[in-house]
């Protein structure tokens, strides 16, 4: 097993159905956008895992290249990049995000 950021990101992205790369933790988000992303996932009631990019500079830079997306948070569902917090909010408000989770068979939080 290699330990470079890209493979750590790859492992995280493929390790769970719903993965949020964020600043801080669900209980203590360290930025308003990450906080908003967590609120959306909580409202949807889906199970998810998070990666705190502030704990790992390699991942913090690496995720931007991995997704070709310059900002954090970033949401992945079933290995697919969905978007940042603004896209999450738009999709949540239109009902698309809940629909996507259902279509992807993402299970509810335990």
């Amino acid at each position: 097993m290699t330990d470079d950021p890209r493979s750590r990101i790859d492992t995280a992205v493929k390790g769970s159905d719903v993965v949020l790369f964020m600043k801080g933790t669900p209980l203590f988000p360290q930025c308003g956008f990450s906080s908003r992303a967590i609120a959306i996932l909580e409202h949807l009631g889906v199970g998810y895992t998070t990666v705190d990019v502030l704990q790992d500079q390699g991942i913090r830079q690496g995720i931007k290249e991995y997704s070709d997306w310059p900002t954090i948070p970033q949401l992945y569902v079933k290995g697919e990049f969905i978007g940042g917090s603004d896209i999450m909010m738009e999709m949540y408000e239109s009902g698309e995000l809940g629909q996507l989770m259902q279509e992807q068979g993402v299970s509810a939080a335990q």
Partner: protein
């Protein structure tokens, strides 16, 4: 480092000439903005693709100088 609202608007309009751009200073501190970008050229593109185009227009400032930019993209109705 923050950016001026006019600079954000100019960069977006240079890259996406038909874009209608509205910048709102959210906190009144010149550092927390919302941008709404409406362009016919977004038609047929996913939200991710639309926002990528705006991020590219901002030439690498997104996530750096522009940490706090809420972005909405839309197609004219």
């Amino acid at each position: 480092m923050a950016m001026a609202a006019e600079d954000i608007e100019t960069m977006i309009r240079t890259a996406i000439p038909d874009a209608h751009v509205e910048i709102t200073d959210l906190a009144g501190d010149g550092d927390h903005y919302a941008a709404r970008v409406v362009s016919e050229s977004f038609r047929g593109q996913s939200r991710v693709a639309q926002q990528r185009r705006v991020y590219e227009a901002l030439g690498g400032n997104m996530g750096g100088a522009l940490h706090a930019l809420q972005l909405t993209t839309a197609i004219p109705s």
